[in-house]
């Protein structure tokens, strides 16, 4: 209890200090306009989010719930204004969008197109039967429709970009020739690259034995994969730190005004 009281007094003192600093003009004054208030709200939420490092606490919990609420609504709004209106309504009944939302859509949509776009409307409607516990089965038709789309689109997409293109990129001459003739370094690189790809693929073999030449190649493949992971770990530290730097800039520059 005493600890909480001390903590509350320290927090209040800090807040008071900041407010005095703000009223003196060194920091954005939250009572001046909405933008300055926004900076304070943003700074508070940033600090609350970072407080998670100390462990779960009421400040973090508050931010968690605000963020989940705002973010889910944000995406729903985007789904409505970014997809349902311009993609569905504009193809199905643009007249409604034009008269209701005063939006600039062409109204002369042929009836075949309208009929085609009745399909997602129907499927979307079926999905909403999920809200009623007894009419749930129809919703799985929509899910089946979506899963069918995914399987149909992805099968070809992975065949194209993942399988054929990657093999095409791997089919190279293992002997590199530069202007001055045979290039040993580049040739070794090409051999290592091709060998690495093949060994990694052998590592992924599910029906291989625990020993033997395939397993040996697989172990080399695993080593290549570990190099890949180590490298991309070391490489991404910068990106993560950059985000923190950005946040600190916001706190120290935009809000506190000390740098």
């Amino acid at each position: 209890m005493t600890r909480k009281l001390i903590l509350a007094i320290v927090c209040l003192a800090l807040l008071l200090g900041l407010l005095i600093r703000a009223s003196s003009g060194a920091m954005p004054n939250p009572f001046l306009d909405y933008q300055n208030l926004g900076l304070w709200v943003g700074a508070a939420l940033t600090l609350f989010a970072l407080s998670f490092l100390y462990g779960d606490n009421p400040f973090f919990r508050f931010t968690e719930h605000v963020f989940v609420g705002v973010a889910s609504a944000y995406w729903m709004v985007q789904g409505f204004w970014g997809t349902l209106v311009p993609k569905l309504l504009a193809n199905l009944a643009p007249e409604i969008a034009v008269s209701l939302f005063r939006m600039d859509f062409p109204v002369g949509v042929p009836w075949t197109r309208r009929l085609l776009y009745a399909l997602p409307l129907l499927m979307g409607g079926l999905l909403l039967t999920r809200l009623h516990p007894r009419a749930r089965r129809a919703g799985s038709w929509t899910l089946a429709f979506l899963v069918g789309i995914t399987a149909g689109l992805r099968l070809i997409a992975f065949l194209d970009a993942g399988f054929m293109t990657q093999i095409q990129n791997s089919v190279v001459s293992l002997v590199a020739v530069s202007r001055s003739g045979f290039d040993l370094g580049k040739s070794l690189d090409a051999i290592l690259l091709t060998g690495g790809v093949i060994c990694c693929l052998l590592y992924f073999f599910f029906s291989r034995r625990e020993s033997g030449p395939v397993a040996l190649a697989g172990r080399f493949g695993l080593a290549v994969l570990m190099v890949t992971f180590g490298a991309s770990f070391g490489f991404s530290v910068m990106g993560r730190v950059a985000v923190l730097v950005g946040r600190m800039e916001f706190l120290l520059h935009d809000w506190l005004g000390i740098i």
């Binding site: 943003g42 989010a49 989940v68 609504a73 209701l100 909403l128 089946a144 399987a151 570990m226 530290v237």
Partner: protein
């Protein structure tokens, strides 16, 4: 298996086959485009279900006065305000037909000062997590972890000014082994090999999974069950 229960399997089969065939038949090709758009449209419908789940879960907590139900009030409040501000375009200077994130609208304010800071604040946690993960995971434990440790160490070193210094004592003859030259090599040879193999492997797995779904061996929707 009753006829009605077989409908979802039939839908998957027909839709998937049509979309695969469309890749090879030019008059059908626009369907691939339209159907991926259909996915997005139906996903937008599904937000209603998501919203119902979110509100339902928190409303139950409030009704039961479960511990920490105050946070649920905060969550539903934040959700409701943002949704109203966005759907009705409250305070939007461009009116109901304008851009939803137009400057000056309530929604834009929320995005800029609530959504943005909280999002990047949570993202910034990763800088701390990556440090503790590096401390804990990069140990000389077995062969695999040592290889990963050494590569990560070299990469980290190379991202600082130390990268050029630690190997500058090497004679010119061994220039290729200087750290600033080793890192691009790692990125363009082993890393390329590893990521290419992962790409091929994932493609094979994805193709097989697609086939399993088309054939009805995998059913991520409700199949014949009750």
């Amino acid at each position: 298996m009753s006829l009605v229960a077989a409908v979802p399997r039939g839908i998957v089969l027909v839709v998937a086959i049509v979309l695969i065939v469309a890749m090879f038949v030019p008059p059908l090709e626009p369907l691939r485009e339209e159907f991926s758009l259909f996915f997005n449209i139906i996903a937008a419908f599904a937000f209603v279900l998501g919203g119902a789940s979110l509100i339902g879960r928190h409303a139950r907590k409030i009704r039961r006065r479960a511990s920490g139900y105050g946070y649920s009030v905060v969550c539903i409040g934040a959700f409701g305000i943002t949704l109203a501000a966005g759907l009705l375009k409250l305070g939007n200077p461009t009116g109901i037909g304008g851009d939803v994130t137009a400057r000056g609208s309530v929604f834009a304010w929320i995005v800029r000062y609530v959504f943005g800071p909280a999002d990047s604040g949570l993202f910034a946690l990763l800088a701390f997590f990556i440090a503790s993960a590096a401390f804990r995971a990069f140990r000389v434990r077995n062969r695999e972890s040592t290889i990963m440790l050494v590569t990560a160490f070299l990469l980290l070193l190379g991202r600082t000014f130390l990268g050029g210094l630690v190997t500058s004592w090497l004679p010119d003859r061994l220039e290729a082994f200087e750290l600033p030259n080793v890192i691009p090599w790692i990125m363009s040879v082993p890393l390329k090999a590893g990521s290419r193999a992962i790409l091929i492997g994932v493609a094979v797995g994805a193709i097989a999974t697609s086939l399993r779904i088309i054939l009805g061996i995998d059913r991520p929707y409700r199949g014949e069950g009750k």
